[in-house]
Each structure stands twice: as structure tokens, then as C-alpha cells.
């Protein structure tokens, strides 16, 4: 047993972190939110070159193999930098298409996903949401219901999310792509991948929120001293670190369970999702409180992180749904 990321995995995280750190993601996020996906698509291509989407595509379809542990590592960094776009949806759709009995959709889409040429959205009303994220930019919107996979033909009007970088649409005019008993199992696996990658994204988001807030608390003075020296502030930040530190191993073990197709995978992904989601949300609440009125300001870049935390907490498995799965027989 060695429950630790290896050197290569850590180096991969560092590379992504460095690349995203020099990419001015805040302006990319603001453009994306305003309906200009140009900078976001450029960043998407760079992520593909770094191998991010290949991690969700098996080698026979020109990917690196479905590698949940590495996906977890990558999505933590994507979350840390609040990268916009249907990231989770694209990798979950890749997992879905790969597991359908019909090989044609996989052959059409997976090589393009791996190469970063296709942004794909996925909508699974049974998994909680009737909306497809970023359907206006996605090259394809898949909808899964019961034992049918649909390809959406159009979309309704934009439904504004509390996170402006998440653009939600109700898919319309779907045509049947694949139908049959393999769909349910494939969907179940794909939603687990979505829960895992959303959890990892939340974890990275929460870590960034904590880092920003600790730095601010050490520098901002009130009553003549740094506010980070007040026990009330310290203890709140200590609780954020605690929540994130104990969510981390749940994300890793969920990834391992998915990698080995373990029967516990569904439960472990749900446990990771609820814990990381709640930890990131608590981090955002603390970030807002410690930054005070500054944190309540839209102009501050931190707002982009704060507003995403609540949405990620509920996407691909609300806390209640996840807790219910954890106790399912």
C-alpha cells in the first residue's frame, strides 16, 4: 500500500498549476461569462496539449486511457484556477461514450475530445439537473435518460447561474443516439466520473480560497494588528484547512475505486463529492467573511471563486443525494 501521489503525478499537478497560473484565468472567466468563449477555447487547447482530456479517453481512441487518479489530480488544478467550461461534462461524456455497446459514437467523438477539438456537454436529468452546462459553446450536447442516449439538436434560452461562468441551457429537439440495456450501466459510471471530477474541482477551488484568505488575513490590519492574529479568525481558517485535508483522501480513494471498477465506487464517489463540496463551500463562506465588504465586491477576482463554490457543491450530486448514496445497501 502506498496511498500517496507518485512523483510523476505531483509533477503533472505542478505543471498544470504553473501553466494556469500564468494564463490570466480571471479574464478568461469573465469573457466566458459574457458569452465570448474565445480565450476559454484557447486555454482548452492548451489543457488538451498537456494531456488533460486524454486522461478520460482510452488508448484505442487516441487517449491516454481512462485514468481516474490523474483526472483527480488535473481537476484539482482546474478547480484551483477556476477554469470555466464544461470540463466535468466533457470527461463524463467520454466515459459514457466509451462504455456504450455501440462503438460508432465513441469513434466519432473520443479522438476529438482527447485532442481538445471538441467541448462536449452532458445532461442527466436523473442525476439531478435538467440543464446542460455551456450548451451554447459545446460541440455536442448529450442527454441521458433511462436507457437512451440522445444528441440534442438545440437549446432553450440561457438560464443564468449564480456562478456567471456557468451557462445553463435546457436541451431541445433531441435525436436518439444509442438505446439499450448498456446505457444504464454506462450512465451510472459516467455520473460517478462526474461526481469525482466535480469533487476534485471543488477541492482545488477550496484550497485556492483558503490560500487567498490566509494571505489576506496576514496582511490586513484592524485595531492595530493583523486580523489573522485574532483567535476567532484563526479558528475559522483552521476549520477550513481541516475540512479540506480530510476531504482529500476521500477524493483519492474514490478515484482508485473507479480505476478498479470496485463495487464501492458509487458510494466512494458520493462520499468524496459531498465532503469536498461542503469543504469548498465552507471555504467560500469563510473567505467572504474574512475579506469583509471587499469579499462582497464583484470586482474582486475572489468573487469568481466564491460564486463557483456553491454551484459545485450541488452539481452532479447534491449533498442530500450523496449522503443517501453513502448509506444505500
Amino acid at each position: 500500500m502506498r496511498f500517496l501521489l507518485d512523483t510523476e503525478q505531483r509533477a503533472f499537478a505542478k505543471t498544470l498549476d504553473g501553466m494556469l497560473g500564468s494564463s490570466d484565468t480571471p479574464s478568461t472567466i469573465r469573457s466566458w461569462a459574457a458569452g465570448d468563449p474565445g480565450p476559454g477555447r484557447t486555454l482548452w487547447s492548451r489543457l488538451a496539449e498537456a494531456g488533460v482530456f486524454g486522461l478520460a479517453v482510452p488508448e484505442r481512441h487516441e487517449g491516454l486511457g481512462l485514468l481516474p487518479v490523474e483526472l483527480g489530480v488535473a481537476f484539482t488544478e482546474l478547480g484551483r484556477h477556476a477554469v470555466p467550461g464544461p470540463l466535468v461534462e466533457t470527461v463524463a461524456a467520454a466515459a459514457l461514450l466509451d462504455r456504450l455497446g455501440d462503438r460508432a459514437p465513441a469513434e466519432t467523438w473520443l479522438p476529438r475530445i482527447a485532442a481538445g477539438a471538441a467541448l462536449v456537454s452532458l445532461c442527466a436529468p436523473d442525476a439531478g439537473s435538467p440543464y446542460a452546462l455551456d450548451a451554447d459553446t459545446a460541440d455536442a450536447v448529450f442527454v441521458v435518460e433511462d436507457d437512451t442516449v440522445w444528441l440534442a439538436a438545440g437549446r432553450g434560452p440561457l438560464q443564468r447561474s449564480s456562478d456567471p461562468a456557468r451557462r445553463l441551457f435546457r436541451p431541445t429537439g433531441a435525436t436518439v443516439l444509442v438505446e439499450g440495456p448498456t446505457v444504464r450501466a454506462a450512465t451510472s459510471y459516467a455520473t460517478d466520473v462526474a461526481a469525482l471530477t466535480t469533487a476534485a474541482q471543488a477541492l482545488g477551488l477550496g484550497r485556492a480560497l483558503l490560500d487567498h484568505t490566509v494571505a489576506y488575513a496576514a496582511q490586513r490590519t484592524q485595531f492595530g494588528v493583523a486580523i489573522g492574529s485574532f483567535q476567532a479568525v484563526k479558528h475559522r481558517l483552521a476549520d477550513v484547512l481541516l475540512a479540506l485535508e480530510f476531504a482529500q483522501p476521500l477524493v483519492h480513494s474514490a478515484a482508485l475505486a473507479l480505476a478498479s471498477d470496485a463495487p464501492s465506487a458509487r458510494r466512494e464517489c458520493a462520499a468524496a463529492k459531498v465532503t469536498a463540496g461542503e469543504a469548498a463551500y465552507a471555504a467560500s463562506r469563510t473567505a467572504l467573511q474574512v475579506h469583509g465588504a471587499l469579499g462582497y465586491t464583484e470586482e474582486l477576482e475572489l468573487s469568481l471563486w466564491i460564486r463557483k463554490a456553491r454551484a459545485l457543491r450541488d452539481a452532479w450530486g447534491t449533498p442530500a443525494a450523496c449522503r443517501s448514496l453513502v448509506l444505500a445497501p
Binding site: 500500500m1 502506498r2 496511498f3 500517496l4 501521489l5 507518485d6 503525478q9 487518479v69 483558503l210 490566509v214 488575513a217 496576514a218 494588528v225 493583523a226 489573522g228 492574529s229 485574532f230 483567535q231 479568525v233 484563526k234 479558528h235 481558517l237 483552521a238 476549520d239 484547512l241 481541516l242 485535508e245 480530510f246 476531504a247 482529500q248 483522501p249 476521500l250 483519492h252 480513494s253 482508485l256 462520499a271 459531498v274 465532503t275 449533498p319 442530500a320 450523496c322 449522503r323 443517501s324 453513502v326 448509506l327 445497501p329
Partner: protein, 389 residues
């Protein structure tokens, strides 16, 4: 990255499980916080020791099996899953022994460790004083130099298991003139039946005499019972404090076993429509799993040559709060039976929740309060500035 156990680890687990299945009685021993229970638990320690299960991670020469930290975690998982009796020797095994391994002399280890492992000598911790709880720098009890040893005078309190234990270990001020409060402390071991020493049992929140006050009036301790150098007691004690907060005091097996029992209780007793209670059960189950996985990650880091320092404070806060959440949720599930003491005639047959609950309430208080731990987390792990407490 993997969570797979080796063949040897699986074999060790099977051996431990087989032994526990054959030896753990289906009827619970009386509470170890009573005189009768204390004696029964001492017998259980002897049985564990006879087959070398009492201190599996210790070297063989002291009665252990010399197994790895991971195998120790495995043993603990099996131990709690088998619902085996609480460890009356835990103060010695978990707190004093690591200190002796790090700072003791070979003579001290050879003399103190085997009878500790067998339950022949049971140890109490004597750190706290009326004026000094988490702030050990305020200790006032003194150790005065005398021919061949030291004379101890003062008062210790809230000393766990001292009501029935044989010996104790604690810190004493040996140099009142030291310029700072931390130097000038000496770490000593002493017998609880020494001339000049009075033990007064103190009732715990549930009335059981689980700890005691110690009054020391010129109690003689020979030089051989000083651990580390005189005046260096603070530094020596800090290594014990790390053990106390970290993994060695509260292995994950304790919580995963309790979470399993809680999940069973929920399936058997709960109203499935009560989603608020369901969510709390789920959180306790997830929390126990998170703690277990965090331990595996820590063990992996230690095996890779890293050291775990202030992070033991993360452990301390997490397990102490998890322990309370587990027990509070169980009591709520039991409804009107939740308030019954474990020895009440109507107490739930799967008992133990009442005493476990009382015990859990002490978690955020001992081993350095959780407020102190959160300060350590904020200052040493997050790098926030020191401030007034």
C-alpha cells in the same frame, strides 16, 4: 498510488482476527473505570500479552512483534471490529512508551516496558495541575534535588486512571529560577503507593471514578526514574504530546468500528423518512472513512521518510469531534433509551453507547484543548501570526 495490502499484511490481519474471534468474550467486561472492571481489564491485558498481541508494534525483546505502523493500524481495525475490551494500559502504551523509546535509557526500557505490556504495572498520566491544563508552562509541583534522587511536592489532578493504577509519569519544576517557564521542568516516573503520596479518586461526569487527584508531600524518586536530562522535561514531554494527539492514541479502527455499529443501528431502528438523522449517520460514516484514509496517507508519508509534525493537531481535532458526532447520533437514534446508563436493566443490548458518549465528551478537552490545537493549525500549518490567546 494504491490501497492494496500485501500478502503478509493480509496474513497478519487473518491471524489477528482468528485470535480475537477465539478470545473476545461475547459478554462485555464491566467498565474499566470501576474497581471491578479495572481488575477484569488487567486480566484481559495479561491474555493479550501471553500471545503477544498487547503491543504488536514494539520490538520482540519487550513482548511485541516488531510489526510496521501499517500492521499496527490493521491490528487496531480488527481489535475494534471484534468489539474487544478497552485498553486499560493505554496511558502507558500510547504515551509513556513512545517517550521511553525516544528518550529513555536501555535500562529504563528493559525495566519498565515488559511489565507495562503484560498489564502487571498500569500507568497513569500525571501532567495536569489545578492551575495548569493545556498551559503546561504553569506547572507548579516541584522536584527538589536530594541524595540519589528527587523529592516531589505538590498536587496533580484529573489524572486518568490514577484511582486504580500502579505508577504515574509527569512533569515537575526542578529549577524555579529558570528564566523562562518551559526550561526547568523534569520528567519523572513515580509509584502511586509511595510514602507521602495520597490518591483521591475524582468522579467523572458520569460518576465513575475514572481519574484522581494526587497530593505529593516529599515523595522520593530515585535518579533512575528521570526520563531524559533533568530540566529538559518540556522537550521530552512534547514528543509524548505529539503521540497523544496523533495517530497512536486514536487509531482509525476505533471510529470505523463505531461507524459500522451506528450504520447498523440506523438500519435496524431508524425511521427512513427522517432525512436529518440519515444525513448525520452518513456524515459520521464518511468521517470515519476519511479519518482512516488520512491515516493511511500519513503512514505512507512516514514510510517515504517524511515526518508528521504539527499535523497531529489536525488529527486531534478531527477524531475528537468525530467521536462526539458518532455517539450523539447513536443516542438520538435510540430515542428514549438514549439517556439510559449502560448498566440500566432496560439499556439497549448492543450497549456501550452511553459510556462511549461520556468518554467522547472529554476528547476536545484533553491532550491539549481543541482551541489550542486550532491555534497550532493556524500558526504552524497556515503560517498566521501569533496573537494573544
Amino acid at each position: 498510488m494504491d490501497l492494496d495490502f500485501s500478502a503478509a499484511e493480509n496474513a497478519f490481519r487473518a491471524e489477528a482476527r482468528a485470535w480475537l474471534t477465539a478470545h473476545v468474550s461475547t459478554s462485555r467486561l464491566p467498565s474499566l473505570e470501576t474497581a471491578e472492571g479495572f481488575a477484569a481489564h488487567r486480566e484481559w491485558e495479561r491474555a493479550l500479552f501471553a500471545d503477544r498481541w498487547s503491543v504488536v508494534s514494539w520490538p520482540e525483546e519487550y513482548g511485541g512483534r516488531g510489526v510496521s505502523l501499517l500492521q499496527w493500524l490493521i491490528f487496531e481495525e480488527e481489535y475494534y471490529a471484534a468489539d474487544a475490551p478497552g485498553r486499560v494500559s493505554q496511558n502507558g502504551i500510547n504515551l509513556l512508551a513512545p517517550t521511553l523509546f525516544e528518550h529513555g535509557t536501555p535500562e529504563q526500557r528493559a525495566r519498565v516496558l515488559p511489565p507495562m505490556a503484560s498489564g502487571e504495572v498500569i500507568w497513569a498520566q500525571a501532567w495536569s495541575e489545578p492551575e495548569a491544563g493545556s498551559d503546561l508552562a504553569r506547572l507548579r509541583s516541584t522536584a527538589q534535588r536530594t541524595e540519589g534522587g528527587w523529592r516531589l511536592t505538590g498536587q496533580k489532578t484529573w489524572s486518568s486512571r490514577a484511582a486504580f493504577a500502579d505508577r504515574a509519569f509527569g512533569l515537575f519544576r526542578s529549577d524555579p529560577a529558570a528564566d523562562k517557564p518551559h526550561p526547568g521542568l523534569t520528567y519523572l516516573m513515580f509509584p502511586l503507593d509511595a510514602p507521602g503520596l495520597t490518591v483521591r479518586p475524582l468522579g467523572r461526569l458520569d460518576g465513575k471514578p475514572a481519574f484522581a487527584e494526587l497530593f505529593l508531600d516529599d515523595v522520593f524518586v530515585p535518579d533512575e526514574d528521570v526520563i531524559g536530562a533533568p530540566g529538559e522535561g518540556w522537550r521530552v514531554a512534547m514528543s509524548t504530546a505529539g503521540s497523544e494527539r496523533g495517530l497512536t492514541l486514536r487509531s482509525p479502527g476505533r471510529f470505523t468500528a463505531a461507524a459500522d455499529r451506528l450504520a447498523r443501528l440506523w438500519r435496524d431502528e431508524a425511521d427512513p423518512a427522517d432525512t436529518a438523522l440519515r444525513d448525520r449517520v452518513a456524515d459520521a460514516v464518511i468521517g470515519a472513512r476519511a479519518y482512516e484514509l488520512f491515516a493511511y496517507a500519513s503512514v505512507s508519508r512516514i514510510a517515504a521518510g517524511e515526518s508528521i509534525g504539527a499535523e497531529s493537531s489536525l488529527n486531534k481535532v478531527f477524531w475528537s469531534e468525530l467521536d462526539i458526532a458518532l455517539h450523539e447520533t447513536a443516542l438520538d437514534l435510540l430515542g428514549p433509551y438514549g439517556e439510559l446508563a449502560d448498566d440500566a436493566a432496560d439499556a439497549p443490548a448492543h450497549g456501550g453507547w452511553a459510556e462511549g458518549y461520556t468518554f467522547s465528551l472529554a476528547g476536545p478537552i484533553y491532550a491539549g484543548t481543541n482551541e489550542i490545537q486550532r491555534d497550532i493549525i493556524a500558526e504552524r500549518l497556515l503560517g498566521l501570526p501569533k496573537g494573544r490567546r
